[in-house]
Amino acid sequence: MVGSPFTPDNGPARILAAIVESSDDAIFATDPDGIVLTWNRGAARMYGYSAEEIVGRSVTVLIPEDRAVSEIEARRQQIKAGDHVEHDEMVRRTKDGRLIHVSVNISPLRDPDGHIVGAATIARDITEQRRVERALRSSEAHWRSIIQSAVDGIVVINERGIVEAVNPAVERLFGYAEAELVGRNVNVLMPAPYHDEHDAYIAHYLATGQKKIIGIGREVTGLRKDRTTFPVHLSVGEMVIEGGRKFTGILHDLTERVRMETRLREQSALAKLGEMAAVVAHEVKNPLTGIRGALQVIGGRLPAGGKDAAVVKEIIGRLDALNDLMTDMLLFARPPQPKFASLDLVALLRGVADLVRQDPTMKDLRIEVSGSGPPVVGDAELLKIVVQNLILNSAHATQGKGIARVSAAFAAGAYQITVADNGPGVPSEVRDRLFTPFFTTKARGTGLGLSTAKRLIESHGGTIMLDCPPSGGTVVVLQFPVQGV
């Protein structure tokens, strides 16, 4: 100790002096005016001034020039009043001009009579600590932004399957807000049977260490808040944080990929079907033509008005039905390339309505055509087939006695045709299958009407949607974009 007025003269005081001297912290005393009285080795190391250099000088030498002297003055008043300063963080300047962050405790020094005769300061260099904290903060912000901005969903669960954190992608994918998920079992995101079995999966893993998904990943089914499901690739990682085991699930939405794969499979199946249908159609239609022709010749030789002539007529009717089926199949399996031309959509709808009205079995069906719009670019023949199929469906849905409302519109760059009826609607359990070829709800029907309509409207780059609104009936909406001619 140098220049101290508290020169130790007994054992315990000497020990205390040794402790002070060996401390890594800077420990020094100042008089009421801030003049340095003592200065330990820690202070010399931290500030760069030796005791000889600084004792007798004001501590303000440690204060950076841009800091107000009032800062230290306020503290001095505090000490004079007998208060302590604890863990106050401040910036100080070392002898070589470096700025360091220090945490200081300042206590008043009293003489044996209790008068304040100065202050004892213990200062710790926290520059490195601050730097690490800052780096951590910045690193955490970095990771947080990665997780927040990730396209894939990230879910963290604990060993009991309870959600601890989710990122915004999870909210987007599943339709839940973060607050709705945190604290709940992660099985809310899964449909049955996984919903009920997930706890057992974790328990099994924890008991046996057998990894079925961790580190592997697989395609699973996600359950949204609105109870719809979607395909998702799930990969699970395991981590140990603060002594607890946690699992991180990364969820990649496969909806689009599965849709594309399904579409490709369908297209390839349809291409094969198209090739097959062309061959089958020829192999069936050719003999059909022969049978029909021969029957016509033979029928013409039978006495007119006789019983046999009537049977021949019936047979020919059956053959024509078979031929129509072949034609329908061919149209579905091998639709012609659309030939685009400008056409008046409302006039086309009226034309189809008139054609349907000519059918005697349709005399009780009311067909209402409405709408307007610019000229449409499309294949008139194919659009007629589509609309006719839909009107016939309306007729069947209403037992031929209802109303079919057919309308045309143009909105958002797309043409729209709507065919709505006032029938009983389609039960929701079969609605998904309506566009499957050969699926029919009718006692007599090929099941090709809607699937062909779908193919033909798709050949216009369009879509077909069927809905049964709560108000009743069935509404089919066709949409197709504007084509270049």
Partner: protein, 130 residues
């Protein structure tokens, strides 16, 4: 070239026996002379053997030894005066256009009304040489 009696020479080319039979019966009943061929080879043979080219040819698009417009082209070359009515069970617009470009009088889809074929044959012949 039409004969004064109104009787036409018609060549029916189809591999389906019942089609040939029904067309022949119908045409013969109307007083026309019918020659039958079952494939491309026999059709060309029939053209070669005939003392004069037929007035009308009823030609199936798809035959065991022919599945393109080659036979139509050959018939048009050998017997340019003959009117060819092409019959097809599965005619694409491309086939129809190609046939018409090669000079076919008409392309008709199968199945058809045999009586309509009869009137179509007469119509085709009547338009010949115009």
């Amino acid at each position: 070239m039409a004969k004064k009696s109104g009787s036409l020479d018609v060549l029916v080319v189809d591999d389906e026996l019942l089609i040939r039979w029904s067309l022949s019966e119908t045409l013969a009943a109307a007083g026309h002379m019918v020659t039958e061929a079952v494939d491309s080879r026999s059709a060309l043979q029939a053209l070669e053997d005939a003392p004069r080219p037929p007035d009308v040819v009823l030609l199936d698009y798809r035959l065991p030894d022919s599945n393109d417009l080659g036979l139509l082209a050959a018939i048009r070359r050998i017997a340019p005066g003959a009117q060819v009515i092409m019959m097809t069970a599965f005619g694409t617009p491309e086939i129809e256009r190609g046939a018409l470009e090669l000079g076919a009088y008409r392309v008709i889809p199968k199945p058809f009304e045999v009586d309509e074929i009869l009137s179509l044959v007469l119509e085709a012949h009547a338009s010949a040489g115009r």
